[in-house]
């Protein structure tokens, strides 16, 4: 098979604890150096928390595996310092096309709205993402990466988690205050702690092939129901970087995975799809089944589960790695506040609650897609085909076609951390308490930038003003005072007019009023923003007591 990518080999070093026999003591251990584990480490180093990362392997993901990184994940990767690398190497796309038998019945455009920094989706082989994250993590002084270090036992007693780690040179012991389990769908940590994960296995098999070809397919997602080249089943085509295309064939439950993977059986399928003339080579082939399931809770004392270790979905909708990155985005700031003694352990319960809410949304959406793509009964297939038939001519039919509802962040509207809107304040638009923030173009000291790159990692109070120079002394004092509280809130003035707010409060220019429009803001509107860029609360007028109460609520200090 052809190779467009050479796998890095990360250096194993003999851990000093093997010779010394001493127990290593660290505040946080992350097990698993996949995208989610490395994301967890990078999130915590933004909060100045030292992290030890243990991984049993010494390279990146074999095969492309995860392919699609959604807008919200890209915004999180921006905070971790790899957003530009992923976006410039990846293939960005917005258009998806759906075919039924010979005809196109439906297409969608993921980002109909301009003025967002990141596109709806970027396709990139998982190994590139892991390579960038690993390089970034290796460059951070507070992150220690230990490759070929395998956790073989875990025990939790009181305030300590004790790990036994195996290397080629022997064993050593690590004691940590916090363990983040990012060790994947089969999570050995989960198994060693004897914790359950419930859900169902779908009775279907899929063949995925990474194919290298000099093809002229546009950068779009193409999905076929019952195509002539693969009758009765579905096929998905995605373009990745380096002229690598991902093709995903539904095989049915009865297919023999070992037989299906053999090149002599794979090649005819691809030839039938591409037509005989087009030249291509296989880079990677795999057969997979999948499960939709999650743990009952994601925090167990001082062990915190993230990503596939906590929840798994079908691949339709790209909700795996994308939701895992949102897990660590949600967890990092909460763990920091608990470590610093500025929030109670209960704040970590909110990690579990909020990410279970999101996981359930992902499970519902990916299960619905799976049921549409692979109907389980005759009547279900009849309805599915009826929808596809109606879709060609009727808008309502197109809206029902479900070839995967692509990953979007959860609106955490039911979270106990939110402060609900309070009468007489009335707001229009989507930026409700719990909403993931919308982006907008802003000028910062005359330089073009993006709102989402100006906030995050700590609480912010966004204060909208018609003219930054007109802020009165009381407002300036109230805003400045917020940054001195126990849980600091950084004030940030947003105004359509250029100029600096008094008192040295940072000011962004919203020249075209897009931020004000998306946040339905008027003179004096205040948004309290969480460190993970979700809205915590909002008001039409600034009131220090209300802001402090909302911060207390958002940190379980109320």
């Amino acid at each position: 098979m052809l190779k467009t990518y050479s796998y890095p080999k990360f250096e194993y070093r003999t851990p000093p604890e093997i010779a010394s026999g001493q127990t290593l003591k660290v505040p946080v251990v992350v097990v698993g150096a996949g995208p989610v584990g490395l994301g967890a480490a990078l999130d915590l180093q933004l909060h100045d928390v030292p992290v030890l990362v243990l991984d049993e392997d010494d390279t990146v993901s074999i095969g492309s595996r995860g392919v699609c990184y959604a807008k919200r994940a890209l915004e999180i990767l921006d905070r971790y310092g790899v957003g530009d690398a992923v976006c410039s190497k990846g293939v960005s796309w917005n258009v998806g096309r759906t075919f039924f038998r010979e005809q196109e019945v439906y297409n969608f455009n993921l980002v109909p709205e301009p003025d967002h920094h990141r596109p709806g989706m970027v396709n990139l082989q998982q190994y590139y993402l892991e390579e960038y994250l690993a390089a970034r993590a290796a460059s951070r002084p507070k992150i220690e990466l230990r490759w070929k270090n395998k956790v073989v036992s875990v025990a939790q007693t009181g305030m300590t988690v004790t790990l036994k780690v195996e290397t080629e040179d022997g064993f050593y012991t690590v004691e940590t205050d916090w363990l983040i389990a990012a060790d994947g769908a089969r999570s050995p940590i989960r198994r060693m702690l004897d914790l359950e994960i419930d859900g169902k296995v779908f009775m279907d098999r899929f063949l995925i092939a990474d194919v290298v070809m000099k093809a002229d397919f546009p950068s779009e997602r193409w999905f076929w129901f019952d195509p002539p080249f693969h009758p009765g089943q579905s096929v998905l085509l995605h373009r990745q970087t380096d002229s690598v295309y991902r093709i995903d064939f539904q095989l049915g439950w009865d297919a023999d995975p070992e037989e299906a993977k053999k090149p002599e059986n794979v090649l005819p399928r691809i030839k039938a799809m591409l037509g005989d003339q087009r030249e291509f080579e296989l880079e990677w082939v795999s057969v997979y089944t999948f499960q939709c399931r999650r743990m009952g809770r994601f925090n167990h004392g001082r062990v915190l589960f993230v990503g596939d270790a906590a929840h798994q979905v079908s691949p339709f909708g790209a909700r795996g790695a994308n939701s895992g990155l949102q897990d660590v985005d949600n967890l990092g700031w909460k763990l920091k506040l608990v470590i610093d003694g500025k929030a109670p352990m209960a704040l970590l319960d909110s990690y579990s609650e909020e990410r279970i809410f999101a996981a359930d949304e992902n499970l519902v959406n990916s299960t619905r897609s799976t049921d549409f793509i692979t109907p389980k009964s005759k009547v279900s297939r009849t309805f599915r085909n009826a929808v596809l038939g109606l879709a060609k001519d009727h808008a309502f039919g197109r809206a029902l076609v479900n070839s995967g509802r692509l990953s979007v962040p959860a609106f955490l509207t039911t979270s106990s951390l939110n402060t609900p809107d309070c009468a007489p304040d009335v707001f229009a638009g989507r930026m409700v308490p719990g909403a993931p923030m919308d982006d907008a173009p802003v000028l910062d000291n005359g330089e073009q930038g993006w709102l989402l790159n100006k906030v995050g990692n700590r609480f912010f109070a966004l204060y909208f003003a018609d003219d930054p120079k007109s802020l009165d002394a009381a407002t300036v004092a109230t805003l400045s005072d917020l940054s001195c509280a126990g849980v600091a809130v950084q004030p940030l003035v947003v105004s359509p007019k250029p100029g600096a707010a008094p008192g040295g409060i940072p000011t962004l220019v919203d020249a075209r009023g897009i931020a004000a429009q998306r946040y339905d803001a008027q003179q004096g509107t205040v948004y309290l923003l969480r460190p993970d860029q979700h809205v915590a609360a909002r008001w039409r007028t600034l009131d220090a007591a209300k802001v402090k109460a909302a911060v207390a609520r958002a940190t379980c200090n109320a």
Partner: protein, 74 residues
């Protein structure tokens, strides 16, 4: 009453942040209603459902239009 062929699903009091959500909610209810039924039972359910909905719509002009849309392409 003209036949509405644009997306039209919604639930009172519920806020949707993704346009596809109410349609997907309905589709899941529809397929769920058939769970554990035999093919004949499913056919009967569909017939009963059509009759109930047709009576709710009531307007024969609309129903005639709907029948034409459904028949086309079968």
């Amino acid at each position: 009453m003209a036949l509405n062929l644009n997306p039209n699903f919604a639930e009172a009091g519920k806020r949707y942040f993704n346009a596809y959500a109410p349609g997907d909610d309905f589709y899941e209810m529809l397929i769920g209603a058939h769970r554990d039924l035999s093919d004949e039972q499913s056919e009967l359910l569909n017939a009963r459902l059509i009759l109930v909905l047709a009576n709710h719509i009531g307007d024969l002009g609309t129903l005639r239009e709907a029948l034409d849309v459904a028949r086309e392409g079968v």
